[in-house]
């Protein structure tokens, strides 16, 4: 007995069920085809992303500008208050000197 010949004989190809081909073709027709995205969909998506980025950038710059402006106003208000206080002290000192002389 030649084992290799016996193996060739034992492992011969066999046919699947008679309706195998039809079942495969049915599954292929029923399966949703994997289609590549249409070119215009890609362009629209890219355009939408660009617009969103541009709007976001403009809004961010506007927000930063407003924030800086409000900080400057606050600083000016604080400085003004301090100046007024110093001015009052100077006036009080003048009045005291005059009354002494």
């Amino acid at each position: 007995m030649n084992l290799e010949d016996e193996l060739r004989s034992a492992l011969e190809r066999r046919e699947p069920s008679p309706d195998f081909t039809n079942r495969v073709l049915a599954r292929v027709s029923g399966a949703p085809a994997r289609r590549a995205a249409r070119p215009w969909v890609r362009w629209v998506a890219a355009l939408a992303a660009s617009v969103l980025l541009a709007v976001g950038a403009v809004e961010y710059r506007r927000y930063q500008g407003e924030r800086a402006r409000s900080q400057v106003l606050l600083a000016v208000r604080i400085a003004g208050g301090k100046l007024r206080k110093a001015q009052k002290k100077v006036q009080t000192l003048h009045m005291v000197r005059r009354s002494v002389t």
Partner: protein, 174 residues
Amino acid sequence: MPERAPSTAGGLEFAGLVRQHQAMVFSVAWHFLRDRALAEELAQEVFLSLHQHLAVLESAEHAQYWLRKVTANRALDVVRRRQRRPMVSLEAVAEPVAATAAGDPMLGETLRKLVATLPEKARMIVILRYQEDLDPAEIAEVLGIPVGTVKSQLQRALALLRVKLSRGHGEKAV
């Protein structure tokens, strides 16, 4: 009759490829898994995958090579993933009930059963060697392993099969 899918790409007609290669795909799966339903399911999945990759296949030979490679590797994956059959070493397998002899009509079935008990990789190597008549270099390419590994596993598998078969003869003689 199902509606035929418009599946021609690169000069390859899908339905024709299914008819031409279904015996090869199914047999690799069936000899490896020893489960007809599972083998048919796997074969169907392989052909569905072929349908999705039809555009990248350049020739009938390329399609055949692709089918063989995908079938072998998916069958290996099925066994590894599902572990439907606990792995048993060849030495641990009980001797065939009927002793075998050359020309014995039971020999084929006995051999198929013994092949099914081989470790996964060795089993696939034996199937690709004797069902598909591939040489070790081709088997190595299909399975993505070194040629030396294919040769050593093949020799070891054949030696184990010989031992089991001769043991069967010995018992019969006794």
